[in-house]
Symmetry: C2
Subunit: 285 residues, 2 copies
């Protein structure tokens, strides 16, 4: 609705504009792309107004002047075009569906990057630092995310495990106590089994961190929730990108964790890294 797209802003403002401003707006809206590369004189002539009128028009829309306006207009056009262009069609071929899938993933990441609450991230890092042990829970696709998380966090010299089996989860939840952190990953946040398990762990005084969608039942009953608001994929052909976002958020948390531990901890990480060297073929042969 209230997108920051300049074209939409102009369209919305159209009824409130005066004569010459309206003329300018019409010319711009008729061919915004041309407007971005034309001079103030050209545009003024096209709209049959004076150059300062065009300039005033620009300032009206929070630009410092005509060049600044063109810049903002150009930016609006790019994001708009990409957005429209992002769905995979049945008749797409490799050259078209490949960049589309990359673009939609990139777009979702950029969205979350700008929306994610740094305060919440910080609190989650706090809780992880305080944890005596961490369990990563996830079912289906989120199971892979949980597995990846284990692979990241075991490096911190801390009892860490991942689980994708509801019975196992249930048992662990029932033995959970203060100091245990259950890190629960779920795209929907509405899986009954998961909710059950979290409830049990909660009752035992464990900390629950949720990585899920905002407003979900899981988010509601967790100690703290990292909200990821990635639109549901309505398109049949389009893969789910939320798990990618989840992985990147876990990267962020792991980084926060490492930083909090301080530089004395780096040699430990280095040791783990080097432990894999003997399993690899040498580069020079």
């Amino acid at each position: 609705m209230h997108s920051q797209n300049l074209i939409n802003i102009i369209t919305d403002a159209l009824p409130g504009l005066n004569k010459s401003e309206t003329k300018v707006a019409q010319v711009i809206l008729a061919d915004p792309d041309a407007a971005t590369s034309s001079s103030i004189a050209t545009l003024a002539k096209k709209a049959s107004v004076s150059e300062p009128s065009v300039n005033r028009f620009c300032k009206r829309f929070n630009a410092t002047g005509f060049p600044d306006f063109k810049l903002k207009l150009a930016k609006s056009l790019v994001s708009g075009i990409r957005f429209v262009n992002r769905n995979v069609n049945p008749d797409d071929d490799v050259t078209s569906y490949t960049p589309k899938i990359f673009d939609s993933t990139i777009n979702d990441l950029a969205l979350v990057r700008d929306k994610i609450s740094h305060t919440v991230v910080n609190s989650v890092v706090d809780k992880l630092i305080q944890a005596k042990r961490i369990y990563f829970f996830g079912l289906g696709t989120s199971g892979s995310v949980a597995r990846d998380a284990e692979n990241k966090f075991f490096r911190f010299n801390l009892p860490v495990s991942y689980h994708d089996d509801v019975l196992m989860m249930r048992m662990l939840a029932s033995t959970g106590t203060t100091g245990d952190v259950f890190f629960v990953i779920s795209h929907t946040g509405r899986t009954k089994e998961i909710i059950d398990v979290v409830q049990i762990a909660r009752e035992n005084g464990a900390t629950i961190i949720a990585l899920t969608s905002p407003g979900s039942p899981l988010a509601a009953i967790s100690s703290i929730s990292l909200d990821v608001d990635v639109p549901e994929n309505t398109d049949e052909y389009m893969p789910m990108t939320s798990r990618i976002v989840h992985l990147v958020i876990l990267d962020v948390l792991a980084t926060g964790f490492t930083l909090r531990r301080g530089p004395d901890f780096l040699p430990h990480l280095e040791k783990i890294k080097n432990s894999l060297l003997p399993t690899r073929l040498k580069k020079d042969n």
Copy 2:
């Protein structure tokens, strides 16, 4: 093809530039956003070169002049990719390391998006379509990727499994035959055990698809290799992004697969999707 990002184009061209052009490039790359809104005089001063040098720089990159260059630069910046200093420093806090990690992931995705060979992607989809069964192999972090791949590909009504156990891999490889596809995921492509396993499968006439780095031993001995050239993470604090890229490439392959199967196949996917509904809490309560 996909229009390459101007920033990447400049970065790539950097080694071939002459003195003053290099100066200009460095100033632009240091803060591209500032460059889009500064005058040619300001930029020339910052780079300690003359104004015409800046102008010539712009023309070198297929712009008609400085304003046109700024426009193109601005457009490049919109695509969600930010080019700030992307390294995490020990004294970074949440508000700085969070966007950095997102940005570096986004940047790597954009790079691969523009570099990946559509021909190879297409051939890999061909091979997957022809497969009688698919094994996804991966160790460590790549194990999670393999697990995710299984979760995607089992939907295609095809015997699919993932394995992160070298003994299991070895046994499966030894029984592999024509029609079997071994999809091997490895960031380095130099893990001895994996190379061994692939050799065995190869000798049995199976098809080996590698998702690994170009020029690696694994790429060399595979039937076909999807090259992912993501720079090694030299920074201690920066997480590995290659696995994210791998996941997106698997998304691309799954999409290619779905499209190749045609629209008759969609109801089957829908059925799988709906099978999960009973496990979820209703939205309205």
